[in-house]
Symmetry: C2
Subunit: 230 residues, 2 copies
Amino acid sequence: VSLHGHTSTTSRSLACYQTITRTLCEIAEWHFPQTVQYINIGGGMFGDVPPEMGFSETPTFDQYAAVVGEALQTSDWAAATKPTLVVEPGMAMSANVISLVTKVIGIKTIRNRTLVTVDASVFHAKPTQHSRNQPWTLIPASESARCCAVFSVVGSTCMEKDYLLTEVSGPLPQAGDYIQIGQAGAYTVVMSPPFINPAPAIVAPHGEHFKIIRARQTLDDMFKNYYFQK
Amino acid sequence: VSLHGHTSTTSRSLACYQTITRTLCEIAEWHFPQTVQYINIGGGMFGDVPPEMGFSETPTFDQYAAVVGEALQTSDWAAATKPTLVVEPGMAMSANVISLVTKVIGIKTIRNRTLVTVDASVFHAKPTQHSRNQPWTLIPASESARCCAVFSVVGSTCMEKDYLLTEVSGPLPQAGDYIQIGQAGAYTVVMSPPFINPAPAIVAPHGEHFKIIRARQTLDDMFKNYYFQK
C-alpha cells in the first residue's frame, strides 16, 4: 500500500516537500500504521537549472534529499516501519539532457522587432509555452561576422504563440545557421503533435559519433493511419 | 501578388473583418494598384457555435460575407480590378463537424467535487485548453437511472489541466458509458500529441454504417521511430 502526496507548486520549495513528507508520515501513523509501505512525494522539483532562465536560487537534489530525509527520520512511524520513499522527478531529471538543434530559415523585421524563423516549433523546445527563455547557442554555418542584436526565435507554424525564444540578445543568426536550445528534455519528446512540422530526430553521443535514438518523423508517418480515397 | 490581413481577434466581430477588407483595399489602391490580384482576409471568424458555449450573439457566415462584400464594393480600386477574395475559415468550418466520443473509466469524488475520468484527454476535445464547455451528450451503456449532478469530465493523463468539461450539470455518467463532446473538429486532429493516450480513430457516416477515415493510433505507431537496444 502506497500513500501519495503530489503537488503542482510553482515555488518548488524545500518547505513544500518537507511538508508533504511530514504530512504523509502523520497520516500513515494516525490512520494506517500497519499497512502503508510506500511514501510517494511525487515530482515537480527543480532540476539543474541554468541561471539565465531567471529563477532565483533553486534547491539542489541534495537539499531536497536533506529535508525529506530529515522529515522521515523525525517520524516515529517512519523510523519503526522504514517505508520505501518514492519520488517522481521526471522533469527535473530529463529537462537538461536534451537540446533542440533547429535550422534558421529566414530573418524578418516587423515594426522594429526582429524575428528569426526556424524549421521547428515551440512544441519541440517548450510544449507548455512558458515565457522563460532557455539557454541557447548559435551554431553559425559560415564564418562571416554577425552583429549583436535583440531578436525573437519563432517557429514555422501559423500559431501566434510559436515563440521558441523571446527578445534575446546575441549574435543575429543568418539563414542556414543552427540554433541550439538547451533544457528541452522535459515533455518535448511526447508533446510534439503531428502539426505542420514533423517531430525531429533524437540523437545521442556515441563514442566519437552519434547514434539515432528516434528517427525523424516523416510525412508518411504523420498520415500513416489515414485512409485516402483513390 | 496577394495582400494579406490576418488577425487573432477574440471578438471575431463583423467590424474587424470590415476594417481588414477596407484597409487592404486602401493599401492596394494607394501603393500597389496594378499588382495586387488577391485580397486575403485570413480566418478567425465564428462558425456555427451552439448557444451553450456561452458566446453572446455570433455573426453568421452570411453576415461576414455582407460586410466584406460591402467593403469591396465601395472600393474604387476593387471595383476596377476585381481582385480574388481569399478567406481562411479553418476553425469556423471544421469545429462543428467532429465530435469526440470517449468512454467513461470511473467516477470519483474529491472534496465534494465529482470527477468523471474518461479514456481520452483534453487534447482530443480542445487542444487549446480553453475554459468554455462544448456541448455534450451522455450515451449510457445501460438503462439504469442516472441522478442529475454537477461534475467535471477529466482525461486519463497526469496533467492538472486535463479537463474536457468543467462543472457541467446533467445525468451523472457511470463507468462504461460514453460521452459525446461536440465542436471537437478544430485542431484536435493535428494537435493530439503521442502522450499517454493514443490518438483516437476518426469515423464518418457512410450510408447506414460508418467508414474509417483514420485508424486508431496504436502503441506501435507511437514508438515506431524509436530504436530500442536488444
